[in-house]
């Protein structure tokens, strides 16, 4: 990993992160610095712990009772796992978009308004709905049907709505867990273009099975794999164009050339 950047370029960082499910160590010794206003992708085979690590970045693992964290995740010089930190506040500033679009079974409008209101938003709600739907490149498609149930939208539209909903609470970091795996190729490319448009304003961390997607859409790529003890580990991390043209580690080379396993 290149260490030339000062910390002012780092949005969020894990230090000696170990995550356990009961007695099983699922990931080990992850030291990952996520750069501000860039798109970082985590790739790797199934079971390498990439989603586990992603979820630890906004304390989503808190919902799994047997899950235990060692190490630190620093966000603006604060360990988000420190006892005094409110996980709800963490999730407000570090938002998440999931693998399957999961809009609330409410109107398109309410999908945006509900989360914002719950987070204390007191401004002009119509403006917020429009601006976030525009940011998610969905406004033109839904502006005349805002009262319609969100579940009537296509999968790609639902996923962009979920992204808009995440944006409505004005996070600084957006975590994306396989955001396009349930979408067709065109909807996938739309999400990727959207990520590119959002990157100047947000830090984006994406987990994907789709190596080509990581190659196309990200600025930095981290390659994870499973070690002999089945714990996930980070093998290599660097600028995407380097990882995909001249990886330094043989395991990365084998994975991205399809010679894994």
């Amino acid at each position: 990993m290149d260490e030339n950047n000062g910390n002012q370029d780092i949005a969020i960082e894990s230090r000696d992160l170990n995550i356990y499910y009961g007695s099983f160590r699922a990931v080990k010794n992850i030291n990952l610095k996520i750069r501000k206003n860039k798109i970082t992708a985590i790739i790797g085979p199934s079971g390498c712990g990439k989603s586990t690590v992603l979820r630890s970045f906004n304390r989503m693992n808190d919902f799994i009772p047997a899950c235990r964290i060692e190490g630190e995740i620093l966000f603006q010089d604060q360990n988000i796992y420190a006892p005094e930190v409110d996980p709800v506040q963490v999730r407000r500033r570090i938002g998440m978009v999931f693998q399957r679009p999961n809009p609330f079974p409410k109107s398109i409008y309410d999908n945006i308004a509900w989360g914002a209101r719950a987070n204390g938003f007191q401004g002009n709600m119509d403006e917020l709905v429009e601006s976030t739907l525009r940011a998610a490149a969905l406004w033109d498609e839904v502006k005349d049907i805002l009262k319609q149930n969100a579940l009537s939208l296509s999968g790609g539209q639902q996923q962009r709505l979920c992204l808009a909903r995440a944006l409505a609470i004005q996070p600084e970091v957006i975590l994306m867990d396989e955001p396009a795996s349930a979408l067709d190729p065109i909807a996938t490319l739309k999400i990727e273009d959207l990520m590119r448009e959002l990157a100047p304003h947000y830090t984006i961390l994406i987990v994907t099975h789709n190596m080509q997607q990581a190659a196309r859409a990200s600025d930095y790529t981290a390659f994870f794999t499973m070690d002999d003890d089945r714990a996930g580990m980070m093998v290599e991390y660097g600028p995407t164009e380097e990882i995909f043209t001249r990886p330094r580690d043989r395991r990365t080379e084998d994975y991205i050339t399809g010679r894994f396993g």
């Binding site: 490319l189 273009d193 959207l194 080509q212 190659a215 196309r216 164009e241 995909f244 043209t245």
Partner: protein, 231 residues
Amino acid sequence: MASRDRLTQQVSHLQDEILLLGQMVEQATQKAMDSLRTRDTRLAREVYEHDLQINEKRFAIENAILILFATQQPMARDLRQLAAMLEVSTELERMGDYAKGIAKVTLRLGTFDIPIPMQELDDMARLSMTMLQKSLQAFVDGDHRLAMTIPQQDNEVDQLYNQVHHKLIETMIANPETIDQVNLLMWVAHNLERAADRVTNICERTVFIATGEMMEVDYTDDESEDFPDEE
């Protein structure tokens, strides 16, 4: 929202880089011809500097294209265009080498007193550089119809080459002690003739991008590259 904005932008940036590389080759060729005409060895050394810059830019273009192959999975026209750019940047780099070859002749001749058929050589350089400009314009515009008309002008370059060749042979016969120097001038003509051939290759790539067909766009009867017609 148009998809693949990023790929489109990067391809368009690379087209600009190719045009820039073409201009560098033109300038190097022009300067090499100037150095020969004025027997200016300082100018000739500058062409060597140009060549280093040309090589650097060619490698930068090549590297950028490889990164796009690896990260953007270009398909169909995008794929053909990027593959063609790899070829074209190689052709341009070779044309830069020809310019350097001419500058080398200036250096080797020094102040040696010898008649140089400058008119014909300048015409060859001017023609081949005009062909180059047109071919690169057709290349970035994707204009394969224009591209297919450009190689016809190669015939004119070949005719000039033959004229120069005759003149130089006559000089050799009249003054056998100048054979070494006349031979150097043969190389100048040869390099300019080869430069025009490279332009034909660029045109073929433009046709390839547009149609997907790899074909020779050649209007001469003689397929031999190393041995232009001697009538």
